[in-house]
């Protein structure tokens, strides 16, 4: 295999690839100047490598000279185009002074190359073909090329430092392309001639333009860019494959060894591919994880902010309610106060006729007061600001006390109120005495309200179910009774059963709601049963002896101290 053949093959590959890449980028976005200039650069590269190749390999000296001059001119055009492309469009910076210099320099060298012998002086026959000789301004030309390259690299580096990640990736690709181009050119145009004092390989470096084109094209067209690791890995594998191929083709003569090297090469390519794939996978995974963790972090921040806001709203709400109830209560206090003083005779005797009315007003006012109290309780329960203070209590004592206090009201209504089976042995239960007192009082009060004749019987029992011991307070009345539906609804809405809605309208159903909440705080149960309409009803309050399972009073204490 001769060098000439290899060179020809590479030329064809590079030319076709450049045209393909150039048109691919151009098709991708015809309107974008970036894509247009890239296509121009691709074309120039095709001209560049072809003119160099033919100049070296043709036999007629005059044609060679002409072609070498064209080559030199094309290179100067390439320099200007590369500058315009990278600085103007890639980083969108339009610095006028430098551009004017580059532009005028390129134009100058373009004309000098084409029409004078100051750049390309002459051609000379060598053993491998026709080589060229630089004229007096050749060194200036090389300096200019170096200057433009450095200028591009400098401005790109500057931009790179301040660019965001996506842009950085694009520039990295571009950089590598330029770096390869530069490196190859330096090796083949400067170092090797210096070492071997032969310019034979002078234009081989030009072919590395294909890497430059490929990488830049990728950077422009692809929205998603792979990280630098993948690029390096792939390049590395490609480079070594090429070296192995070259070695196999050029430097090996013995067929068996050629075969062996071919197998090695194939194995290496397979390995390289697998390696590139695994690196790609790893990078993709890492990007995925990074994305997820950023998402997580953002979500967390949002959650924290939302929670904070919620707490503030909650605080504002309870403050609002407290202040509103204060405002509502002030006039209620005045009415209660003065009416009570009038009733007590502080302002003299009241006529009998008026006495009754005063009593009615007073009671109406009391209802309002109770309503406000209930509303506050409910709001506090809803916002979780209720403490539960547990003690071991003998619930029979509480019931006795309430029955005693309520017996006056019962008597007034001609109803009986009895505590049955007082002597039954009942264990003490771990409860919040204030709250349970309120609940029992509320239920008995209700029972008396909605019973027209007969009375109310209260009993306390103990119960054991599924290993859980509890006390059950039952309050039975001989009142209206309820349907099954009404029984179920009793505690679930602010209803009072049909009896309540038709005949009695004293008080809201908030009392039952609060009672239910209080009982639930004890991990207890409250429900009502009835045989039917006209057959009375029985309310049951069940409370576990051990008290609520999770130490709510501890929880609330902690919460209150955090507030």
């Amino acid at each position: 295999m001769s060098f000439y053949l290899i060179e020809t093959v590479i030329l064809i590959i590079v030319s076709i690839s450049s045209v393909m890449i150039g048109s691919w980028v151009y098709q991708n976005d015809r309107k974008n100047p970036l894509n247009k200039w890239f296509a121009i650069i691709s074309l120039l590269i095709v001209l560049w490598v072809n003119s160099a190749y033919f100049a070296a390999n043709l036999t007629i000296k005059e044609t060679s000279l002409f072609l070498y001059r064209i080559n030199s001119a094309v290179v100067s055009l390439f320099l200007a185009s590369a500058y315009i492309f990278s600085v103007f469009y890639f980083i969108k910076k339009k610095s006028s002074v430098l551009f004017k210099f580059v532009f005028s320099g390129s134009l100058l060298f373009f004309f000098l190359s084409l029409f004078t012998n100051l750049i390309v002086n002459n051609v000379v026959e060598k053993e491998w073909g026709i080589g060229m000789m630089f004229g007096p301004l050749g060194d200036f030309y090389k300096l200019f090329a170096l200057f433009v390259t450095v200028a591009i690299i400098y401005q790109l580096s500057h931009y790179y430092i301040t660019a965001e990640k996506k842009e950085k990736l694009k520039i990295q690709y571009f950089f590598i392309g330029i770096a390869l181009l530069a490196v190859f050119n330096i090796i083949f145009n400067i170092i090797i001639p210096f070492i071997t004092s032969s310019v034979r390989l002078q234009h081989v470096g030009d072919f590395s333009a294909i890497f430059f084109l490929g990488l830049t094209a990728y950077a422009i067209v692809k929205q998603k860019l792979f990280g630098i690791r993948i690029v390096f890995t792939t390049l590395f594998v490609a480079l070594i494959s090429i070296l192995l191929l070259v070695d196999l083709l050029v430097f090996t003569d013995i067929f068996v060894i050629k075969l062996f090297k071919m197998i090695t090469l194939l194995a290496f390519i397979v390995f390289g591919y697998a390696l590139a794939k695994s690196v790609t996978k790893e990078v993709k995974q890492r990007e995925k994880v990074e994305k997820l963790s950023t998402k997580l972090a953002t979500t967390n921040i949002r959650l924290e902010a939302a929670y904070k806001k919620l707490k503030e709203l909650d605080k504002a709400k309870s403050e609002f309610i407290s202040i509103v109830s204060h405002q509502l209560r002030t006039p209620l206090t005045a009415v209660k106060g003065y009416l009570s003083m009038i009733k007590e005779g502080n302002y003299g005797k009241i006529p009998k006729k008026v006495e009754n009315k005063i009593e009615n007003i007073y009671n109406g006012n009391e209802r309002l007061i109770n309503l406000v109290n209930d509303m506050l309780s409910v709001s506090r329960i809803e916002t979780g600001k209720v403490d539960i203070g547990l003690e071991k209590i003998q619930i029979k004592d509480t019931v006795s006390e309430i029955v005693k206090n309520m017996s006056i009201i019962a008597k007034d209504k001609n109803l009986y109120l009895r505590f049955k089976n007082k002597s039954r042995r009942i264990p003490k239960a771990n409860i919040d005495i204030d709250k349970i007192h309120q609940v029992i009082l509320n239920i008995i009060d209700n029972a008396l309200k909605y019973t027209k004749k007969g009375g109310v019987v209260v009993e306390v029992n103990k119960k054991e179910e599924k290993g859980v011991k509890s006390v059950v307070v039952s309050i039975s009345d001989t009142g209206e009774g309820m349907t099954k539906e009404e029984c179920l609804k009793m505690f679930y809405s602010f209803s009072r059963g049909s009896a309540g809605s038709l005949l009695h309208s004293e008080g809201a159903g908030l009392g039952l709601y609060v009672s239910k909440k209080f009982v639930e705080m004890h991990d207890g149960n409250i429900w009502v049963g009835s045989e039917g309409k006209g057959k009375g009803s029985t309310f049951f309050i069940e409370l576990p002896i051990k008290g609520p399972k999770d130490k709510k009073n501890e929880k609330n204490e902690k919460r209150n101290s955090n507030n």
């Binding site: 109830s325 106060g337 003083m341 502080n346 007061i369 209150n560």
Partner: protein, 126 residues
């Protein structure tokens, strides 16, 4: 036997209510002084050294708890009985007031003036 009239200070910003309580308490033979905010209250406490203070919590500018805190810091005033007395029904405030030595935290609407009187007499005697 000289019967000393008990001096009671009511710190209450609602004039309507302050008058009402004053009327009731005076009927019972107490000497009532009224202050309408914490600052006025503090001045009167220092001047009068009352036997008992009925302290409203929601006051303009400085609230009752702050007043209580300041009062407790002054040695000669720290032994005066205080009954906290408000329509502001906040648990934390209640705890604070009791922690600062208030004898009780009463909700005004739950008591008639006579009932408050009973409480006051109770705390004066103990």
């Amino acid at each position: 036997m000289k019967k000393m009239k008990k001096e009671i200070l009511i710190i209450e910003d609602e004039k309507m209510l302050a008058e009402m309580y004053k009327e009731r308490f005076e009927q019972e033979g107490f000497h009532i002084h009224s202050a309408f905010d914490a600052e006025e209250g503090m001045n009167m406490v220092k001047e009068l050294k009352p036997d008992l203070i009925i302290l409203d919590i929601l006051l303009p500018r400085e609230n009752g708890v702050e007043f209580l805190r300041k009062m407790r810091e002054i040695k000669e005033l720290s032994s005066i009985s205080v009954v906290a007395f408000s329509n502001y029904d906040d648990l934390d405030t209640k705890k604070e007031a009791l922690a600062l030595g208030a004898k009780e935290y009463l909700i005004k609407t739950n008591y008639t003036p006579s009932e408050i009187l009973k409480k006051v007499i109770y705390y004066l005697e103990n």
